[in-house]
Symmetry: C2
Subunit: 202 residues, 2 copies
C-alpha cells in the first residue's frame, strides 16, 4: 500500500522514458547521418523496439524532429528584448555580441552540431506558432546590422559571422580532436575578433 506513490515525478514532466530515449537516439542519428538518411527503423533499432511502436510516441517522423526543438532555450528572445530597450551607443554592437557568445554552453553543442549537419532541414523548420526556428536569432542579427552604417554590407556580414561563430567553430572542429570547452572558447575569441574587425576599419 505504500509503494507506487511518486511515479509521475520519477518520469518527470514531459513524455515517457521511451519517448525521451527516442529523441536522444534521433538527435544522434540525425547529426551523424542526416535527417533524410535516417529511417524510423534505425531509430527504433537503437531503442530495441519495433518501428511501428514509435508511432505511439510521435505522430510522424517530422514530429520527432519538431519535438527536439520544443524545449529549446529562450536566450535569443531574452537577448532580443534586452537589445530593443538599449540606447543606441557605439558600444552596443560589441556589448550585444559579447552577451550572445556568453550564452554558449557545452550542453547546447549537441543541438548546434545537429544544425550544422542539417542546415536545410533547419531552414524549413517552423515552431508551433509557424515561425522559423531561427527567427529570434535572425531578428537579433537584423537589429545589429542596423547599427552598422548602411551601404556597408561587408560589415553586416561580419556581424552575422560573429553571431554564428559557434556554428563555424563546431564545423571547424569536425576533423579535429578538441574538447567542447575549446570549441566554445574558440567561438568566443572568433566573435570578439570579428566584432573588432567591424569597428576597426571605419
Amino acid at each position: 500500500m505504500t509503494q507506487p506513490v511518486r511515479r509521475a515525478a520519477a518520469v518527470s514532466r514531459r513524455g515517457s522514458d521511451t519517448r525521451r530515449r527516442a529523441q536522444r537516439a534521433a538527435l544522434q542519428l540525425f547529426t551523424r547521418q542526416g535527417y533524410e538518411s535516417t529511417s524510423l527503423r534505425e531509430i527504433a533499432d537503437e531503442l530495441g523496439i519495433n518501428k511501428a511502436s514509435l508511432y505511439h510516441h510521435f505522430a510522424s517522423k517530422e514530429a520527432i524532429l519538431q519535438s527536439l526543438f520544443d524545449e529549446r532555450g529562450t536566450e535569443a528572445q531574452e537577448l532580443l528584448a534586452w537589445l530593443r530597450e538599449q540606447p543606441r551607443t557605439p558600444r552596443l554592437l560589441e556589448e550585444t555580441v559579447l552577451r550572445w557568445v556568453d550564452t554558449f554552453t557545452s550542453d547546447k553543442l549537441a543541438a548546434i552540431r545537429f544544425m550544422t549537419a542539417n542546415p536545410l532541414v533547419i531552414r524549413g523548420l517552423a515552431d508551433s506558432s509557424g515561425r522559423s526556428i531561427g527567427a529570434p536569432l535572425n531578428a537579433i542579427v537584423d537589429e545589429l546590422t542596423a547599427l552598422v552604417p548602411s551601404g556597408r554590407e561587408q560589415d553586416g556580414l561580419l556581424v552575422r559571422m560573429a553571431v554564428l561563430s559557434i556554428n563555424a567553430a563546431v564545423q571547424a572542429a569536425v576533423h579535429a580532436e578538441v574538447t567542447d570547452a575549446d570549441v566554445i572558447a574558440a567561438a568566443q575569441r572568433a566573435a570578439r575578433a570579428l566584432v573588432r574587425e567591424v569597428g576597426g576599419t571605419p
Copy 2:
C-alpha cells in the same frame, strides 16, 4: 560537303550538352533542397527529358554528384605543395592563410554553397582515387596547425576557422541580400582577423 566540320569543338572537351545541363540543374537542386531530397525525376523535369534518359549520361545518382567535383580546381594541392617547401618562419601561418583566401573567386561560390548545404554528403564523398574530397584542404590545415604551439587547441581551431571563412561567410549570407563580391571580401577580412587573433595572444 563543307558543313558539319567543327562539331567536337562546339560541344567542347567533356560531355554532351544534355550532360552539362543536367550537372547544372543537379547542382542547383542539390544546393536548394539537399542531395537526398532531390530525385532524378526532378532533375530530368528541369531538362524536359525523361528520368530514364539521365542514365544514358550518368551511371547513377551518385555519379552525377561525383561528376560535379571532377573538374574542380587544384588550388589546394598547389598551395599545399608550396607550403611544404617553405622555411618555418613566424609569418608563414599568416602568409599561407592570405594566399588561400586570395584564391576565393565568384565562380567558386556555387560549389561552396553546395558544400555548406550538404556537409554530410561532402564528408562521405571520395574522388576517383578514393581520397576524401576535402583531403588537400585538410592537409593544409594540418600543416598550419602544426605551426601553432602544441597544446593550444583553441589556436588550431581558429586557424581552421580562418581557412573555412569562405564557408562561414556563405552561410552568414543566406538570409542577407549581398553580392558575391561582398561575401568574398567579408570572408577575407574574417580570415585576416582570425589569424591576427591567433598571433595576438601569445
